[in-house]
C-alpha cells in the first residue's frame, strides 16, 4: 500500500500552520478573556442585586408597623399554599416514583412539567374571578370534601383490595389513579350536595368567609402553582433510590407501602425536605396570584377566611408609583430586601439539604 499523503505541496502544511499560529493563539486568548469577563459580570450582578437594594433602603420610624402585616401576609399565604401543595405534591411524587407503571410515569412527568409552565397570571385570573366567588358560597362543602377525602380514599382502596376479583386487581397495579378519579368525582359531588343541604346549619355561618378574596382561595391556587416544582424535586429524590431496597423489603414480607415508609422515605428524606423548602420559598415570592386573589388588605391575623397583603403583591402595587428617593421608596426596598433575604436563606438551606441527599445516594 503506497503511502503518499499530499500531492500538492504548494507550501507545506507545517508552514501554513506556523503562519496561522499567532492568529489562532490570539483567538484562544480572546475567547478565554470573553468567557472570564462574562463570568465576572455575572458575579458582580449577583452581588450587586442585594447591595443595590440595600443602598437605596431607608429605615423610617414607623417601618415595623408598615412591614409587619405584609410579612405576616406573605407567611400566611405561603403557609396555606404549602398546606395544599405539600400533600398533593408529595403524594403524587411517591406514587409516580414508586408505584406508577413505567408507561404511566412517562406520561405523568411531562404533564406535571407542563403544569409547572402554566403562567401564574392565568391561575390568578381563575382564582380571582371564578374560584373566589364560587367558593365563597361553598366553604362548607370544601370542608366536608377535605375531611372525607382521606377516609374515603383509604376505604375505597381497602374495599377494592378486599372485594374486587384478583384479575381486576392485577390489571390495576400501577394504574391505581384510575380508581381514584371516579371516587374523587363522586366525593366532590356528594360534598357539594351536602354543603347545599347544610347551608342553613349553624356551622355554615361560622366558616362563612368575610370576603370572597381570602387566604383560602390564595392558598388553593398558590398551592397548585408551587405543587409541580415540589413534585419534580421530590419525585427525582424518590426515584433515585435504587429499586433493590424496596424489592428486598417486599421479599421479607413488607407491603409496598411499608417498604416505602420504612426504607425509601428515610433515604430520600433530604430531597423531600428540600422540595418543601423550595416550595415555601416560591410561595413566599409569588406575586400575581396573591395580587389578584387576596384582596390586598394588610391584616394581622392567621384566619383562612380573611384577606391578606403580601410583600410581593405590595411591591407590584406600590413600586411603580413611588418616587425614587422618597421614604416610601426606601421602605419598599427594605421590604424587598427582606423578601430577598428570606428566599435566599430558604434556597441555600434547600441546596445544603440536597447536597446531603446526593452524598447519601452516591454512597449507596
Amino acid at each position: 500500500m503506497p503511502v503518499q499523503v499530499s500531492s500538492s505541496p504548494a507550501t507545506s502544511l507545517a508552514a501554513r500552520f506556523a503562519q496561522r499560529q499567532r492568529v489562532r493563539a490570539r483567538r484562544e486568548r480572546w475567547l478565554r478573556g470573553g468567557l472570564a469577563f462574562a463570568a465576572v459580570l455575572l458575579g458582580v450582578l449577583a452581588v450587586a442585586m442585594p447591595l443595590f437594594l440595600l443602598a437605596s433602603t431607608r429605615i423610617t420610624p414607623g417601618w415595623s408597623e408598615t412591614l409587619l402585616p405584609l410579612v405576616a401576609g406573605s407567611f400566611k399565604a405561603a403557609f396555606y399554599a404549602l398546606s395544599v401543595a405539600a400533600p398533593l405534591a408529595l403524594g403524587a411524587a411517591i406514587w409516580c416514583a414508586r408505584f406508577a407503571a413505567p408507561r404511566l410515569r412517562q406520561l405523568l412527568k411531562p404533564l406535571f412539567e407542563l403544569l409547572e409552565a402554566v403562567p401564574v397570571v392565568v391561575l390568578g385570573l381563575v382564582a380571582a374571578l371564578l374560584l373566589a366567588p364560587w367558593l365563597a358560597q361553598r366553604v362548607l362543602a370544601l370542608a366536608i370534601f377535605v375531611a372525607a377525602l382521606v377516609p374515603v380514599l383509604a376505604a375505597s382502596g381497602a374495599l377494592w383490595q378486599h372485594a374486587a376479583p384478583r384479575r381486576w386487581q392485577r390489571a390495576l397495579v400501577g394504574h391505581e389513579v384510575g380508581l381514584s378519579l371516579p371516587v374523587l368525582v363522586l366525593l366532590a359531588w356528594a360534598a357539594l350536595v351536602a354543603g347545599e343541604a347544610f347551608a342553613t346549619h349553624v356551622s355554615a355561618a361560622i366558616i362563612q368567609p368575610q370576603t370572597p378574596w381570602n387566604a383560602l382561595v390564595v392558598g388553593i391556587m398558590l398551592g397548585l402553582a408551587v405543587m409541580p416544582t415540589m413534585f419534580t424535586l421530590a419525585e427525582d429524590a424518590l426515584f433515585a433510590v435504587p429499586a433493590e431496597f424496596a424489592l428486598g423489603a417486599q421479599a421479607l414480607g413488607a407491603t409496598r407501602w411499608q417498604a416505602l415508609v420504612h426504607l425509601l422515605l428515610p433515604i430520600a428524606a433530604p430531597g423531600i425536605v428540600a422540595a418543601l423548602l423550595l416550595g415555601f420559598s416560591r410561595a413566599l415570592g409569588e406575586t400575581m396570584i396573591v395580587l389578584m386573589a387576596s384582596g390586598n388588605t394588610p391584616l394581622l391575623d392567621a384566619s383562612p377566611l380573611t384577606g391578606l397583603r403580601s410583600i410581593a403583591a405590595n411591591l407590584a402595587l406600590e413600586a411603580p408609583e413611588a418616587a425614587p428617593g422618597s421614604e416610601h421608596y426606601g421602605l419598599l426596598l427594605l421590604s424587598a430586601l427582606l423578601l430577598f433575604g428570606l428566599c435566599l436563606l430558604l434556597n441555600a438551606l434547600a441546596e445544603h439539604v440536597r447536597g446531603r441527599l446526593r452524598r447519601r445516594l452516591a454512597g449507596l
Partner: protein
C-alpha cells in the same frame, strides 16, 4: 360487631397510603382538567354570539320594550345588554323579575357588531345588508350615525345554525387576536409587545448565558470560582420574579435611565421611565440561570471523545468549542432558548414595574426610523390579562376577553414548553446514538 372487626383486619393488612398517594395524583389531574375546561368555556363566551331577547316590563307603571342580550340572571333580577348607540359598555340594564311581563326570542332580530366592539340590535326582515341598514336608521335614536364599512358582522342572531355560531365565533376570535384595543377589543398590540420583548430578551440573554455555561463547563471545571458562580446561579434562580422587577426599576430605570436623561438633558424623561429595553434586560437577568443550567447540561452530554479528538488534531480550545462542541450541543442551546422564552413569556410581575402598561399609544416596532423603539412603553399579554380582569370598564365583556387573552398566553407558553421538552427528549436519543 363481626363486620367491624373484619373491616379493621382488612384495612390494617393493606397499604392504604398507596391509595392516598394515587388520590393526590388524581386530585392534581382533576384540578388541571378543571382549570383548562373553565378557561376554554369562559374564553368561548367572549366570542359566541349571544341570542337577543325582546323584553317587556313595567317600570313605574309604564311598559317598556327592549331588545337586549341577557348577560346574567338569577332568581331576583336580570342583567341585560341593549344596543350601545354611543359608546361601548353603555347598554347595561338591571331588570327585576317581578317587573318582567314577557321575554321572547324573535326570529327577525339583527345584531350588528362594530369594529370598536359595540353591538347594536334591531328588528328587520330584510335580506340585504343595505335594507337592514335602512331599517336600523329608522329604529336608532336621533343623532345616531355609523359607518357601515366599520362593521365586523351583521347577523340574524337568533336564527344562526350551530355551524353559523362556530363560524362567527372563530371570526371574532381571529379579530380579537389581530386587532388593537382602540377598536374596543383585541390583543394584537399586546401580542406584538410580548413577542418583541421576548425576542429582545433572547438576543440579550443567549450570548451571555452560553458564554457563562461554556466558561463553567469547559474552562473553569471544578475550580473554586466556578463553584461560587454555580452557587450564585442556583440562588439567583430562586429569587422571586418581582424582586428582579424592583432591581430593574432601581438599577435600569432610575439608575441608568435617569442618568442617561440627565446626561442628554432631556426635559421629559425618555429613558428614565419604564421601557422595552429595561424590561428585556430585567427578563434577561431573570432567565439567565435557566439558560446556563440547560446549556451546561447539554455540554455535559457532548461525548468527551469528540473533544479529545479535536484537541489531538491540534485544534485549540476555542476551535474545539466552535467547530465540534457547539454544533453537537446545538439542540441543547435550542432547548435553553425555548425554556427561557417560556419562562419569560409567562412572567408578569416584574414587567409591571419596568415598562408594561395597560394602554400604549404606539407599538414598539413600526416603519419609522429606528424601527425598534427601545425606550417606548409597551403592552404585554400577561399584563393585559391582569388589566382586563381587574380594571376593565366594561366588566362582563372585559372579563370574558381576559379569559381569551389568558388562553392565548397559556397556549403560547405551554406550546413553547412542550417544544422544549420534545427537543430535549430527541436530543437525549441523539447523544445516546453518538456515545454508542
Amino acid at each position: 360487631m363481626g363486620l367491624v372487626l373484619r373491616l379493621r383486619r382488612v384495612t390494617r393488612r393493606r397499604d392504604h397510603g398507596l391509595w392516598l398517594a394515587a388520590g393526590a395524583v388524581g386530585l392534581s389531574l382533576l384540578a388541571l382538567l378543571v382549570i383548562v375546561c373553565v378557561l376554554l368555556r369562559q374564553a368561548a363566551l367572549a366570542f359566541l354570539p349571544a341570542p337577543v331577547a325582546e323584553l317587556r316590563w313595567h317600570s313605574n307603571g309604564i311598559e317598556q320594550v327592549l331588545l337586549a342580550a341577557v348577560v346574567e340572571q338569577d332568581a331576583r333580577e336580570l342583567i341585560v345588554r341593549a344596543s350601545e348607540w354611543q359608546r361601548r359598555g353603555t347598554g347595561y340594564q338591571r331588570i327585576r323579575r317581578g317587573d318582567l311581563v314577557s321575554l321572547t326570542w324573535p326570529a327577525d332580530v339583527m345584531t350588528w357588531r362594530l369594529r370598536d366592539g359595540r353591538e347594536l340590535h334591531w328588528r328587520s326582515a330584510a335580506t340585504s345588508v343595505h335594507e337592514a341598514y335602512a331599517a336600523l336608521l329608522t329604529q336608532a335614536p336621533a343623532g345616531f350615525s355609523a359607518d357601515p364599512a366599520g362593521q365586523v358582522d351583521i347577523v340574524a342572531v337568533n336564527q344562526l345554525s350551530t355551524a353559523g355560531v362556530v363560524r362567527i365565533a372563530l371570526q371574532r376570535a381571529w379579530l380579537f387576536v389581530c386587532s388593537g384595543p382602540q377598536a374596543g377589543a383585541g390583543v394584537f398590540p399586546a401580542l406584538v409587545g410580548t413577542v418583541v420583548l421576548v425576542l429582545l430578551m433572547s438576543v440579550l440573554v443567549m450570548p451571555l448565558g452560553v458564554l457563562l455555561a461554556l466558561w463553567l463547563h469547559e474552562y473553569a471545571g471544578g475550580r473554586r470560582s466556578a463553584r461560587i458562580l454555580r452557587a450564585a446561579m442556583a440562588n439567583l434562580a430562586g429569587v422571586p420574579a418581582v424582586i428582579y422587577g424592583l432591581f430593574g426599576l432601581v438599577l435600569f430605570v432610575d439608575g441608568i435611565g435617569g442618568g442617561l436623561d440627565a446626561l442628554l438633558a432631556h426635559k421629559t424623561p425618555q429613558w428614565g421611565g419604564g421601557g422595552l429595553l429595561w424590561s428585556a434586560l430585567t427578563l434577561a437577568l431573570l432567565t439567565l440561570p435557566v439558560v446556563v443550567v440547560a446549556t451546561e447540561e447539554g455540554l455535559g452530554r457532548v461525548p468527551d471523545g469528540l473533544r479529545q479528538a479535536a484537541l489531538a488534531l491540534g485544534a485549540t480550545r476555542a476551535e474545539t468549542l466552535w467547530h465540534v462542541v457547539l454544533p453537537v450541543a446545538r439542540p441543547a442551546l435550542l432547548t435553553a432558548l425555548i425554556l427561557a422564552i417560556a419562562r419569560a413569556a409567562g412572567e408578569v410581575a416584574p414587567l409591571m414595574l419596568v415598562g408594561a402598561v395597560k394602554y400604549a399609544p404606539a407599538l414598539p416596532v413600526d416603519a419609522e426610523f429606528p424601527y425598534l423603539h427601545l425606550s417606548r412603553q409597551f403592552m404585554h399579554l400577561g399584563q393585559s390579562v391582569y388589566d382586563l380582569a381587574l380594571t376593565g370598564s366594561d366588566a362582563p365583556r372585559d372579563t370574558a376577553q381576559a379569559y381569551a387573552a389568558a388562553l392565548l398566553l397559556l397556549v403560547v407558553v405551554v406550546g413553547l414548553n412542550a417544544a422544549a421538552i420534545s427537543v430535549r427528549n430527541r436530543l437525549r436519543e441523539r447523544t445516546r446514538e453518538l456515545s454508542t
